[in-house]
Symmetry: C4
Subunit: 389 residues, 4 copies
């Protein structure tokens, strides 16, 4: 079973692989990855320290050289990502320029642009406006692209966005009520601190979030009683978002599922060369599972109700004649059209990612995209032929 | 299967639908909904800013116009809700005036009244007492009516109200013990701050809730040791309510159940035209479940132990002759009187809400309200006849 | 099936029932219960306010009368609890004086004693030492006796006491490390605040618990870096106990089990008249479950692996000839010696507490205490005879 | 079945058992254990108090004697642990000196060394540099060796280290954004407090972690709005690590598994005398489970899919002819080569630790280390022979 790939535009393909860092064990991609992270960190640190007057960084020649290097690196990265955009499986059918325009309006691309724009402007117009400063630090957000943990956090927060919005409304109601009560109580005693509801709201938000600066505190007995009630309510204000995110997060983590990305799928024989619309239709149905070294994918005697496609890593299947190795692109488990999968145990040899398609999803897939199912069956049959032959 | 409805009082019915915003895709209801939310936010903001002397909002003509508009909007809303109250399924059998009186004493109606009362009083009596200020901000609570996340939060807190009460007692005990200890330790050194136990309690509550203003701090060594112990206890004080709400909330969320409301049910053929007492008896037994696009309601080969009634959305049932669409009011799954449901897979095509009645609840229902079961069976038989015919 | 009880000492028995408040719907017990709670709250409030010089409560005649009334009430309560101590099922075999001595050294009895002791001393010795003040507020802890939520909280904390101890050690290590680092950094700049490690520890504990008074803050750049690291570590310090208690609490709650008390058991026919050692041997094996109104105890068609004894409330069993009511002391489910329980559905009519004994526990019980099993079987047979006859 | 052990070097073996404290009920090991804990606590307390000038501890003769005693105790402990290092099962095949070198570079050994090194240096060089102070307090970390709860905490934190890293990046981004916004807003009003971004970062970290010293607070209206947003974001910053650790911790606890240590295994007949490489290969596959007194290991009628090896404690197996006691080293449950285990119930008589090897792990073990499986089978057969004979 050999992987068939388009030969042209090899360099662009190679650059895409380096920037996406999808191939495990690609040392050049790793080097580029860590170089970019280091450049982001150094350049953000520089921008922060440049505001300290005593350091006078802006008068140092090496500071400007460092800034220039980072700018060049980010500009090259932005240009490179723009150039390789047509390599992305979802945009493979589009004309290159349209593909690049599509990429340019994605959030990561806009962050990348925002990271270089203020420098480009200050270079060309010879002015360094402070309003651009915030935009300049945006490049810190580039780090989000390189961290795999953000996904789970983002999913956990997004899953409960309505509950969190309710929390925020409750917090606002709490601030309003506490501020009004304190305004009515303390405005005659401390007119400079509780002279209006907005001023009292500063105290209320400080207290409800348990920050408690202490710059504004009630001094009357009734004010302190209101303050005490506000603090106790603050504990519940604290408890609600924590409870919501915690319960959401534990469910997200419990699934141990990771959304499959286009670049993972587009490398696998059964899925490569699919049209973008078909891929876009299939992808939301797919989830991958991670298995640590030594973990059982299929247990002894268990007849699984999933079709598995290996995405990354290496597994061993315990056949009657010994162990058989499984690598990326290999298919095992329930074959479409068969009622039962043969109950052979499979175990991960190294940390592996596997695409698990449930029986019901398979039926759905068979009805909508029979070609994909045909390829999956063919891939599995090839395997069996290898085994028996 | 045609839905039979009363024809008279169409306008009142339409207004009820708009105010309750139950029909998906009703753009007029959406507009009214967002207009009311915006009016609430603007009017609360205005009331808050009116207390800032420097802005002198009360001297601006447009401020009074805005206030007046909001007042009119809220009064109209209150009157309209009062007028359509007899449309509510639970009050349909009551005489209109009794139905309105019933509605007028519910919590949302009282909040709506409290939102307009202070303005009405200040308009009629030409006086704007500050004591009414708190009442005026009550209108912020009107937002709770429009947020769907409150339900889960409220259920989570209510479910553990005894545990939370215990937490509060523990917190009180902690405040008492810490304040007494600090009073005994520091009252000679700082008589102005720790001169009595109530004064020391201000420090204790500030510390136990980790707010820590810093306006009252121990200065002696033994006072600081007591302070350190209080802070560490504060961590546990913090942990208890968070733990309670978190575990409660995750269970509430885990069920993915939403309590069925009267207006949902009263639209569905099997339940419409039921007497209010019968509805009131059935409703607490019913829970609805939400299914996202593409989720399986009944899995392939699974013989479900539930009778399902579609509340909202659209589903597809995979029959032998192809897919069949299911919409609001359609019944599928376990039929009362049959031992087993036919194991056909059902999947949500768009986000749907489904009423799932467990086998045991069905038996209970059959014994108490055979008419309802008769209708459910008839609805399901109509379906099957459609299918085979 | 009639309940056989000892007739003598009816008054002592009645008083025991009132003080323990075990019989549902006992209005005298409820009145006594709420009177005692109110007396505790009033007397603690009085003791707190008595320390405020401006109120001069000690010079008011009614304050002394209130104090005296509370003292009398608590003394009478203490005496009464001491007198009825032999009624407790665990102490029923002991001679009355020994039973009372046993009770007098339990924690609740000692709290009750501590609540009256300082007053008794100040009455007899005409001196009101401040050192007794803390002891006097101990009576607040009497409330714990009346709150049912404490049990779950206590179990949740106790279950993870080793993990919480580890947390405390980690917190101590954090305080030590942060204080030492800050001492080395800031002792020359702020010798009055960071002049020794114990002084720096005050800052460290204030920061790590996120209380942050602000009376001691670092001013140098390196001190602020250390402070920032300490704050971030503080978040984890906060997270650990919350995580531990939350996970423990959700498991405690998930079981929905409540430990069976002696007074519950000793009222039920199958268990009454058992010797204290036998009861003490059986009790740790027993757990009760709560069922809300309408909840299924045994589902239709389910053959339960438990023997159930109704403790409180009322249930209905759906037999072939109609519903049959079950009340306290009734036995149903798996009979010892039978392989399978007859699969009849049982449902709670009101909120009920049921003792559920697992099949394995039944075997264990049968081997160790055949008499108890004999009684359970007899009780169940009586039921069945009632049913078929 | 008699345990065969090497007779030589009995003293070293005994000392190893005392220091590792693995044998339950070893009173000498307990005494040594608590003596070392007390010495650590006293010596750390001494080092902390020595920095208080007013106490002048360094001029007290008994302080130096105490210091000397602790130094001697730790040095003896370090030497003893070094001497007995070859007794560790993993190092048993190595030459003694190599085994000791291996031990000397482990983390606990380095902590032990760091605990005595500063004293040794100050003794020999007659100088007490302050830079060594932090190192000296390192001995507090020796306590981690004695606490069993650290393992669960460490595993919980380590399991989610990527998610926690993402949290940290989010926190850094929050600090950056808040500090920049506040720098732009307040730098003209309070140039001494918000004069540069690093200075504003001090305020931002103080606020986001809800510490809130109050030494730096915004005074302008726009600054306070930014402050309020920062505080609300701070709640989410707080919620994320708590949620992550809580969900991770509850999963770690839910397993109730404890990693098996070498010293546990090396005492058991089926595993003793194995070569270090074989042990090192097997150990990661093994988990032990704790069972409290009275808990069921195998339930009645359940045919377990595990092979069990008793590690600690005592159990009773309910055979046909009565109960049979099981102790450390005994094997029961699924025998390798048999398809089904005989379904006899087993229950823990005292708190016990049991090694549970899953059926799949057994197959894996059988393929890789047939010798181990042979011993397990032999041990189980011995048992059965004892029973039937």
């Amino acid at each position: 079973m050999s992987t068939e790939k388009q030969r042209p535009q090899r360099l662009r393909r190679r650059l895409f692989d380096i920037l996406e860092r999808d191939l495990p064990g690609d040392h050049i991609a790793d080097a580029v990855h860590y170089f970019l992270i280091a450049t982001v960190l150094l350049s953000v640190t520089g921008a922060v320290l440049a505001t300290v007057p005593s350091l006078a960084l802006r008068e140092k020649w090496w500071f400007h050289w460092g800034e220039f290097t980072a700018l060049v690196a980010f500009t090259v990265e932005y240009g490179a990502r723009l150039w390789v955009a047509p390599e992305h499986p979802l945009r493979r059918q589009l004309p290159p320029l349209v593909a690049r325009a599509h990429y340019a309006v994605t959030v990561p691309a806009l962050i990348d642009l925002a990271a270089i724009l203020p420098w480009l402007i200050s270079l060309t117009t010879e002015l360094d406006v402070h309003a651009l400063l915030v935009l300049r630090l945006v490049r810190f957000l580039k780090l989000a692209r390189y961290s795999s943990g953000f996904n789970a956090l983002y999913l956990a927060v997004r899953r409960e966005r309505y509950a969190l919005l309710s929390c925020f409304i409750i917090l606002c109601a709490g601030v309003l009520i506490a501020a009004t009560a304190m305004y009515l109580t303390e405005r005659d005693v401390q007119p400079d601190k509780f002279g209006s509801i907005p001023e009292a709201m500063w105290w209320a938000i400080t207290t409800l979030t348990t920050v408690g600066y202490g710059d504004v505190v009630p001094v009357t007995t009734s004010g302190r009683v209101i303050g005490a009630l506000t603090m106790v309510s603050g504990l519940v204000m604290l408890a609600l978002p924590i409870a919501i995110i915690a319960s959401s997060f534990s469910e997200v983590i419990a699934k141990h599922n990771f959304v499959v990305t286009f670049s993972m799928i587009s490398r696998l024989p059964p899925f490569s060369d699919l049209d973008a619309p078909v891929l876009g239709d299939i992808l939301p149905l797919l989830n991958s599972r991670s298995f640590d070294r030594g973990h059982q994918v299929v247990r002894r005697g268990e007849s699984t109700a999933h079709l598995f496609v290996v995405l990354q890593g290496r597994l061993e299947m315990e056949g009657e004649t010994g162990f058989r190795a499984l690598g990326p692109g290999d298919v095992f488990g329930l074959l479409p059209g068969h009622t039962k999968a043969s109950p052979v145990p499979v175990r991960a040899v190294v940390k592996s990612k596997i695409l698990a398609i449930e029986e019901n999803e398979l039926h759905m897939l068979a009805l909508r995209h029979p070609a994909v199912i045909g390829r999956l069956s063919a891939a599995a049959r090839d395997r069996d032929a290898d085994d028996t032959g």
